[in-house]
């Protein structure tokens, strides 16, 4: 047959176009499969399940980013707006003031603002937060547990294998649909 020309034989025009069409078809199928797999990968993102988080500190130290994509977030509906906030203050502070020696956060990432006697509001400055979970631990151990960790998707680069998830001792990292990228705490129990 002309198309199965032996080595050394001249290539016919028909054989050339037939081979070309096969290559084009294979390239197209390959591209389609690649596009589909890319689309599937983009529909899932990493997130932390707060009910499994052990506040181990790994989120601050194991993210591939220089400053972790994991941040502390605050469920205001759960917060008690306490004067002695155990997420804000060192254990046994010398005064309930914003003095650096009294603050628990190693990066001064929590703002404390007086609301009305005896309530104070606590706001996380995410630019400063490194996701170390020290405040989360204090809030959960002695308070209502309104502080918890979440991956911020404006920072996360969504690695195929998240470096923090590999080290997470609580198996708290999971893939969630991009349409619902956060696992938030609510007042419902």
């Amino acid at each position: 047959m002309e198309s199965n020309s032996k080595p050394g034989e001249p290539l016919t025009r028909r054989g050339f176009f037939r081979s070309g069409a096969r290559v084009a078809a294979m390239t197209g199928i390959g591209g389609l499969v690649g596009a589909l797999s890319n689309a599937t990968a983009k529909t899932w993102v990493w997130q932390i399940d707060p009910s499994k988080c052990l506040r181990c500190g790994n989120c601050a130290t194991h993210c591939v980013l220089e400053q972790s994509a994991v941040k502390c977030v605050h469920a205001y509906a759960i917060c008690g707006y306490c004067n002695l906030c155990t997420g804000f203050f060192q254990p046994d502070p010398n005064a309930l003031s914003t003095g650096a020696e009294n603050q628990l956060c190693p990066t001064d990432a929590i703002r404390r603002t007086f609301v009305e006697d005896p309530y104070y509001e606590y706001v996380i400055d995410e630019k400063l937060c490194i996701g170390c979970a020290k405040c989360v631990q204090g809030c959960n151990q002695f308070g209502n547990g309104s502080l918890f960790l979440q991956i911020r998707h404006d920072r996360c680069v969504n690695c195929n294998e998240c470096a923090i998830s590999r080290e997470c001792p609580g198996d708290a990292f999971q893939r969630v649909p991009v349409e619902q990228p956060y696992l938030l705490k609510t007042t419902r129990r």
């Binding site: 506040r55 601050a60 130290t61 002695l84 155990t86 002695f142 209502n144």
Partner: protein, 337 residues
């Protein structure tokens, strides 16, 4: 004799350099700032508060027995020293040795109780009070307080009943027939009443024969004293983790009064029971966190600290008993000396 000056050959120079580098490397590993692998450099360390200075402990535990409830709530002392424990849908009467004498079913979850001199038992349910005879026969069920009501403490005077309502953030005053007489503790700047701050449902009330009510105000970390008519008299207590303060977001969670007017307070988070003078000076620890390791652990779980807690009951002879709602046991305490 060694010469004062010698040329160093290249081999010796590099071998000395390599030795120096190796020593520096070892020193860095041994003395470096980085914590050993596996340790959390951001750990929230409160371990130093989990032990009580033995010199501060004024009581010994002389007995401990289970109450048999899966979810006990509060405890009250009867006129002859019996203990009434509320849990699930019943109230159980125990002797101090743990022998159960009586177990009577109430309509829904029993949350708190108070026992009169004649043995009449007042039981706080979610939104109302029920009255039972000494043998457990229901005599009355009072009008519900409202949808937000969440009764968590009861106290009796000679003629009145006081119910601590965590949901409504007030103490409700009744006569013994169930007639509602008024609310105590609602925020009122004109009467200098600061208002109760109750982040978790642990409002409690106790009455002393000096005529004043003691109410814990957990969000303010203090005990407040009121007249039965609701006049705010005074308050004591401060926030802090030390043994003389009230720790966490909201403590104390329970209160009772000794016959001489001294207060017995219970805390969660760092579970401990303490005695303070009538004017609020710390006196001694009845039982510290080392007595309730499971209770302390309940506040280290993954969610929050609303599952731990203790309650204390003082009988007419001033004997203290402690209900641990995590281990579901009662600890009988005896004063040292």
């Amino acid at each position: 004799m060694k010469k004062e000056f010698e040329f160093v050959d290249r081999r010796e120079f590099f071998s000395t350099l390599a030795r120096g580098a190796a020593l520096l490397g070892l020193a860095h590993v041994a003395l470096g700032d980085e914590p050993p692998k596996g340790l959390n450099p951001f750990a929230y360390d409160v371990a130093r508060f989990s032990k009580t200075d033995p010199k501060l402990i004024g009581y010994d535990e002389v007995g401990r027995w289970p109450v048999g409830f899966s979810e006990p709530k509060r405890m009250a002392a009867g006129p002859d020293g019996q203990l009434y424990v509320c849990g699930e849908t019943s109230v159980r009467q125990f002797g101090r040795s743990g022998v159960r004498h009586l177990d009577f079913i109430v309509g829904e979850q029993a949350r708190c109780a108070a026992v009169d001199g004649d043995g009449t038992v007042y039981v706080g349910l979610r939104d109302h009070v029920e009255v039972y005879s000494a043998t457990g026969v229901r005599r009355a069920s009072w009008e519900p307080v409202g949808k937000k009501a969440w009764l968590t403490g009861l106290a009796l005077s000679e003629s009145e009943v006081f119910a601590a309502d965590s949901g409504g953030r007030a103490v409700l005053r009744y006569d013994k027939t169930g007639k509602f007489l008024g609310r105590i503790g609602d925020k009122d700047p004109e009467r200098n009443v600061p208002g109760f701050i109750v982040p978790s449902p642990f409002l409690d009330v106790a009455f002393h024969r000096d005529g004043l009510l003691r109410v814990n105000n957990p969000g303010r970390h203090r005990v407040e004293l009121y007249t039965p008519k609701g006049d705010f008299e005074t308050a004591w207590g401060e926030a802090g983790f030390g043994v003389k303060s009230f720790c966490g977001c909201c403590n104390p969670i329970a209160i009772d009064v000794l016959p001489d007017g001294r207060a017995v307070t219970c805390e969660k988070g760092i579970p401990r029971v303490k005695i303070s003078s009538a004017t609020g000076e710390f006196e001694s620890v009845v039982a510290g966190p080392e007595s309730f390791p499971e209770n302390a652990g309940a506040c280290s779980d993954l969610n929050d600290c609303v599952h731990g807690g203790l309650d204390a009951a003082v009988d007419a002879q001033g004997r203290i008993s402690i209900l641990d709602i995590v281990t579901r046991q009662v600890a009988i305490m005896k004063r040292r000396g």
